[in-house]
């Protein structure tokens, strides 16, 4: 009965704490199960990371409880559940990366809390939008020139941080965030203009289509230079969503969709990497031993999961190459079954709902655009990789936010969660 009362409790602090406790029960039992499956006993090596995680989460809860009374009580538990799930999966799939990921989690949580609590308002983001954008583009340019790949092969999307040993940073992750900030402030400013222009006929909108074409061009360049289909599509969809929000005109969405398709077709014929992924998506079976190996093994993992999965540590997701970053969703579907996979999708769905709710309730257009942009980033990125892993979409090398292994991705996700928390608390501007 006490538990039932807790569910109906109105107080957001207690609700947040209850949800954190539920997430901790899930992650805790997962790590215990992993330890038992691996070693037949409960061992510290599988418990320390979840304990650090729990301490971080409870610390964050206490701070937010004190400094951000009106925050959305679902955000922190959701971020907690996803990162905790990610940690036990990393322990299970590639334990040698666990310590490093915990350090990144520490940083991400710190940055999240800093952004949620410290700034009085977010005006600085809006004011220096061009600085952010050009900073981001500069970083990207630097990657094009000096980029490396930590694994020694593949796309060179990382920068090696100076004086920090083997720490790599992926600027395109930061660029996502900067782009959201830039676009939010840009549309905030242009909203009136775009709306006015619509009333003066189709031709008059042409000058205002310029940003659309510019953006498309920018993404196209990204595609051409880096052959990074995922990032290009992600940026473009983000732009379309915010453009729709600004204009309310569905034609931009439809037109943009065809432009995306066009770029895809171009990419298919121009680049082997893109062609390979599209071919493997359309029909992976004939090439299952070779180029479509990864996606076919991923489908095997999905099929093997059944209703409740094999249990953590008891399936065979390691047959999927680099399962711990891009294919962690397949591993979850195998070891936690349909229940786990659908649960994870529901978590991202809930995150999108809470984020858009923040946007809808925002008092200022800039805040609304910012919240929407962040939600679109989280949602589209998770949809792209979950859709890729399930062969609903072609594979794009993006990470599953919060869950996949990857420091830059986690850090930026922390920043964006911090922004959402800040916005939800209706920070005084």
């Amino acid at each position: 009965m006490i538990l039932l009362n807790w569910f109906t409790i109105e107080d957001r602090d207690w609700r947040e704490l209850l949800l954190i406790i539920l997430a901790a029960l899930f992650v805790g039992s997962g790590s215990l199960a992993l330890s038992l499956a691996r070693l037949g006993t409960i061992a510290w090596q599988h418990l320390w990371a979840p304990l650090v995680w729990l301490a971080l989460l409870l610390g964050a809860h206490s701070l937010l409880r004190y400094y951000r009374i009106n925050r959305d009580p679902f955000l922190l538990p959701l971020v907690g559940l996803l990162t905790g799930w990610g940690l036990i999966m990393l322990d299970r799939l590639a334990a040698n990366f666990l310590a490093r990921q915990v350090v990144w989690l520490l940083l991400a949580m710190a940055v999240m809390l800093f952004i949620a609590i410290v700034p009085r308002d977010l005006r600085f983001l809006r004011r220096y939008r061009y600085t952010w954008l050009f900073g981001g583009l500069l970083l990207l340019a630097a990657t094009l020139l000096f980029g490396v790949n930590p694994s020694g092969f593949g796309a060179t999307l990382w920068l090696k941080l100076p004086f920090m040993g083997q720490i790599f940073f992926q600027p395109s992750e930061l660029l996502k965030l900067l782009l959201v900030v830039f676009l939010a402030s840009y549309f905030d400013e242009r909203q009136q203009l775009l709306k006015l222009s619509r009333r003066r006929g189709w031709l008059a909108t042409m000058p205002y289509l310029a940003p659309l074409l510019l953006m498309w061009g920018f993404c196209f360049i990204l595609l051409v230079w880096q052959q990074d289909l995922g990032a290009a599509a992600l940026f473009f969809i983000l732009f379309l969503a915010l453009l729709y929000l600004a204009t309310g005109d569905g034609r931009y969405l439809i037109g943009g969709f065809f432009m995306l398709l066009l770029a895809g077709v171009f990419g298919y014929y121009a680049y082997d990497v893109v062609a390979l992924r599209v071919d493997a998506w359309l029909n992976p079976w004939p090439d299952a031993d070779n180029r479509a190996y990864q996606i076919v093994q991923s489908l095997h993992a999905l099929a093997a999961g059944g209703l409740v999965g094999s249990g953590i540590g008891q399936g065979f997701p390691n047959y999927i190459p680099v399962v711990h970053s891009d294919f962690v969703f397949a591993a979850i579907a195998e070891e936690f079954g349909l229940v786990g996979g659908l649960g994870l999708i529901a978590c991202f769905g809930l995150l999108a709902y809470r984020g858009l709710r923040i946007a809808a309730l925002a008092r200022r257009p800039f805040h609304a655009y910012l919240a929407t942009g962040i939600v679109i980033l989280f949602s589209v990125q998770s949809l792209m990789i979950m859709g890729g892993v399930t062969k609903l979409l072609p594979l794009t090398g993006v990470t599953l936010p919060f869950v996949s292994y990857g420091g830059s991705s986690l850090l930026i996700a922390g920043v964006m969660s911090g922004l959402l928390l800040h916005l939800s608390a209706n920070g005084i501007e």
Binding site: A303, S310, A360
Partner: protein, 448 residues
């Protein structure tokens, strides 16, 4: 934002939410599609390593000997089941289980049982829900481990086989084939075993194909007696005339008197009188005799057996001294000889004494029906009583010419106790013209 604007904005946000939710739903449905509707198809694909992993995790049931001594069991090592054979020379009856090289012997014959198949739906559902590996049921063989080990020791250094049956049920107590192999080392030794000219992987008891030679004599005598063609004490003239086979001259054993009876042809191993029987029976009659004793069929046993000759008799004169196209395995000859001690009835062999059902209860193997009555009880008993007697053992030994090279192999058949045999031993030694060795091995086994 002004209220009207905010409302408009909220509607757009709602639409975005709808689109995003729709996309998440699509991913969810795709997941259901793979996890539910395509699950079985994908699980069956060759490139799915999970079927291999699942097979590697099957905890096979144990194989026990007749006294419940463990002959084979599975041990889990790092999530994979390792098959262990505590009795190294458990022989071809137990066989081997290797993921890479398949199965043989009882491991093959009772594979489903040992793997826990078939599995009822409810058990399967619970097992899959809990992600437990298949676990099989135990099988108890009729084999006696100590006797088996003794037989292996006796065959050491020989190429051949030894079989010990209990009578009249045809239960296999010893099935030894030399040279053998260590089933624990099968994966490591496999290439060498396959390349070895002496064929250690061959189960000579069931798959060995040997010319029966004069080992057939007691059977032919019983059949002739049964048909009323001869009397056992009927005197034979010129019994010692030579018979030519593949350039070799076959005679009675040295010292045989000129005039002997049919009964004494067994003692002196005389081939020539049997040519007269061939004349009477002809191809058809002789084939019928061989059929009757089950020499032209595969024995009713789940182990791998050699295919019998398509035409057992091409030349009756050769066939009657076991040097025609008919070849027999020690098991076939043993079962045929058992007829003499079983009131003329032919019994099917059996190797599994009992097996566990899904609930772990032992189910004894159903007795097999008698497969035929080639001769009358009286004829069988009369021939049995005519076999040479040694130390309470009725025995018969004979040489056979193996193939055109003229190499010899020796047969020994012994039954004990002499008055009402309960044990029957068959020994065959390849490239061995010294009946004494085969006799020694056979007698040693019967004396245990």
């Amino acid at each position: 934002m002004i209220p009207n604007e905010q409302e408009q904005f909220q509607r757009k946000v709602q639409r975005l939410l709808l689109v995003v939710s729709g996309a998440f739903l699509a991913v969810a449905l795709t997941l259901v599609y793979w996890g539910v509707f395509r699950s079985a198809t994908l699980a069956a694909r060759d490139d799915n390593p999970r079927s291999v992993e699942a097979a590697l995790r099957i905890e096979r049931g144990r194989i026990l000997d007749n006294n419940e001594k463990i002959l084979a069991y599975s041990e889990m090592v790092r999530g994979r089941a390792l098959r262990v054979y505590p009795v190294v020379d458990s022989g071809p009856a137990v066989g081997y289980y290797s993921f890479r090289h398949g199965t043989a012997g009882a491991e093959e014959a009772y594979n489903n049982q040992l793997q826990g198949m078939p599995e009822d739906d409810w058990r399967k559902f619970v097992r899959e829900l809990l992600n437990q590996p298949l676990s099989g049921q135990d099988v108890r063989l009729t084999l006696v481990a100590e006797w088996q080990q003794a037989a292996d020791a006796l065959l050491e250094g020989q190429t051949g086989a030894a079989l010990l049956l209990t009578l009249p049920d045809g239960a296999i107590r010893v099935m030894a084939s030399a040279p053998g192999y260590d089933p624990n080392q099968l994966d490591a030794d496999f290439e060498r075993l396959v390349a070895d000219e002496r064929a250690p992987l061959l189960n000579r008891v069931t798959q060995g194909q040997y010319q029966p030679g004069l080992a057939l004599q007691p059977l032919l005598l019983a059949a002739a007696l049964n048909d009323g063609l001869i009397g056992l004490d009927q005197a034979l003239v010129d019994a010692n005339r030579p018979v030519a086979i593949n350039g070799l001259q076959l005679n009675c054993l040295p010292g045989a008197p000129d005039e002997i009876s049919w009964r004494e042809t067994l003692v002196w191993s005389c081939p020539s009188p049997y040519l007269d029987l061939a004349g009477i029976w002809g191809s058809e009659g002789l084939t019928a005799v061989f059929d009757g004793f089950g020499l032209t069929n595969r024995p009713d046993l789940q182990l791998a057996t050699a295919a019998p000759a398509a035409v057992p008799v091409t030349d009756p004169a050769k066939a009657v001294i076991g040097q025609d196209s008919l070849t027999v395995s020690p098991l076939q000859l043993g079962l045929a000889m058992a007829v003499l001690a079983s009131e003329g009835q032919l019994h099917a062999p059996y190797l599994a004494a009992a097996w566990q059902d899904g609930d772990g209860r032992w189910q004894p193997a159903a007795p097999k029906p008698v497969s035929g009555q080639p001769v009358s009880a009286a004829a069988a008993q009369a021939v049995l009583d005519s076999l040479p007697l040694y130390d309470n053992i009725r025995e018969h030994a004979a040489l056979a010419v193996a193939g055109p090279e003229g190499s010899l192999h020796s047969w020994y058949i012994g039954m004990a106790p002499a008055n009402a045999p309960r044990y029957l031993v068959v020994v065959v030694l390849e490239q061995n013209d010294d009946l004494a060795t085969a006799r020694l091995i056979g007698r040693a086994l019967l004396n245990r």
